[in-house]
Chain length 159, copies 2
Amino acid sequence: MKTDGTSLYLENQVCFPLYAASRLTTKLYTPILKELDLTYPQYLVLLVLWQHGTQTVNEICSRLLLESNTVTPLLKRLEEKNILLRKRSEADERVVQISLTEKGESLKQKASTIPGQIINSFSDESINEQEILNLQKTLFKLIDIMNRKELLEGTCRHD
Amino acid sequence: MKTDGTSLYLENQVCFPLYAASRLTTKLYTPILKELDLTYPQYLVLLVLWQHGTQTVNEICSRLLLESNTVTPLLKRLEEKNILLRKRSEADERVVQISLTEKGESLKQKASTIPGQIINSFSDESINEQEILNLQKTLFKLIDIMNRKELLEGTCRHD
DNA sequence: AGTGATTAAGTCGTGTGCGATACAAATATA
DNA sequence: TATATTTGTATCGCACACGACTTAATCACT
């Protein structure tokens, strides 16, 4: 650990490049998603619905690591666009099942070119595929650690 | 590039782990920063002010890769907390110089333990320092690419 | 059956982020 | 020197994120 005065320098943080890279990446998606009339978080919701089919609000929250108070309004906006349906479960009235409409399903076709478009926008650049795969691997590792840490904090009482 | 149906799977995206890791990291800082009555973006503004001293709104924007419409209200909130001063330059009336108050300077002492606290919260975990350094390096590379791309887009006309 | 704890989803308030745009000051150009 | 363009900051509107809290439904346990 650094003991000089540089530990507070922006270049020495990990948090900052994560934060900046995330924002810039979202920005990269924005014009592409605009053609589908979607925001980036809305696109993520669709990814999990395309991949795993009808599921509860809670399952969507867990998969995206978002809180219900973020996801609920997001789902309402997608419902207004006729992309998905929200239906209370009969077995358990607390649960709301989210399912895709015809329109929501059909968007998958249009979205299928998006990963390619994103990759292509990097193809000329000085970053190779292995580097991206390593990045992805480390990020998932970090996410796993922080996510477990958060769950632990939540269950331990401090009074 | 994948031609099967898995290219839209959440696990195969790079954007998602970036987005999730960024949010979880911010969450990690939140309780620590709460003791200084700061939000995470406010902390970032202070980092660049501690590091580079008095500077313009524009310089802060460039360093954090944020737009002025994000930074302006952020600075106003910090001004209300008596952490910094906003003063129009006399040489160029468009420019606003941001300088730290006594209180803003003194916060640096209290903040000096933060990087250590964050690192310690990972110390038990299965992620080594080299991996973090590689992550940081790749992220800065990505940021550089996306940042340059954005600047280019901005200057080329498409009519 | 009754009751306290837990759970799923949602409401509310605050603080970002950013696209689109406004406005004034400075600069470039005719 | 008048006018067009650029630049620095800010305003506005919308969509997240999340902490703190609420509500209703279910569960656990007596």
